[in-house]
Symmetry: C2
Subunit: 206 residues, 2 copies
Amino acid sequence: MRISALAAAADLPVATVKYYLREGLLHPGVATSATQATYDDSHVRRIRLIRALTGPVGLSVQQARTILGLVDDPGDDLYATLGRAVSALPPPVDEASVDDPDPYPRARAALEALGQVYDPHYAAVAQLEAALAATEDAGMPISDARLRAYGHQLHELAEYDLERMPQEPHSAVEYTVLGTALYEPVILALRRLAHQDVAARRALGG
Amino acid sequence: MRISALAAAADLPVATVKYYLREGLLHPGVATSATQATYDDSHVRRIRLIRALTGPVGLSVQQARTILGLVDDPGDDLYATLGRAVSALPPPVDEASVDDPDPYPRARAALEALGQVYDPHYAAVAQLEAALAATEDAGMPISDARLRAYGHQLHELAEYDLERMPQEPHSAVEYTVLGTALYEPVILALRRLAHQDVAARRALGG
């Protein structure tokens, strides 16, 4: 199909499709002349994936390009690939100074309290530090009891996710990278709705 | 203190403090002359809260203003206040057409499968719909088994949260509105780190 048909199939303006092509999020079509190219279902599927990442997941086009680049070309080390993916996800964090012997004291204390194995260079450590600091700055610090309760539930969720990881390397990358990004908005929406369910049952005396 | 001292205490440029004042996120100081005002610790605390919401929580200044406005002036109905707060949180969703009898089919099916009480007008329903549609568009739909597993864990989290809600109305609003926004980045970071812990233990055969 031509670019106009691709844009129509994706329900987007042609200018947006051209923008994705220019920014390297969408692979080029097959050239049919000096100024025209033809596109197929792989382009439609890719645009859906771009829209999922830039929509509910809330990534910028640059962040989505990083995530898609890792899925397209993951390298040999799933662990390193997932690390790069997580650092492209919000919240953005600054790299710690190499001179700082304890750059993430809140996250370190939390992970020690939970008894979890962690790599201090993994971006999620700095993200946890920033998230915990924000709760303190807002005057609503997370208590040790709450941390243990949250940590326990999220560890069960993580066990579930890891048990279902595909064996085949490329599928494993897609599952971990896209699953991390795409399932997070589902988790937050489910938490908000679980609050409503619990509150409604209490109000009804249920 | 003067605005320059307030900016220094908050580690921000004076221009940013003036921007928060102009946008109504920060309450005015006490005027000491036609062109000067004096600020106190309440302003320092408020700026920390603004930074927490616009930093790790990832809100825009407009979204943060909505959240802070609800905390400052919650009205009489905690349920309605929380509903307005949730609709100011990402992901942004369009309002459903009044003519559409079933605007959120994926979210409805999910909440029915979980047996949860919900108000179809609550913004989190539309947010769940968008999040579930994104997983389908990306070719990684959430299975019924995964939905039940996630739903169960997040319901336990919600029970924990509701059990600890303060009785006093103004504290209850702060707890529900700010707790929803501020604890979400903690939950996502903990999930990412739980994945790492589970993966590391499996690699070690633990």
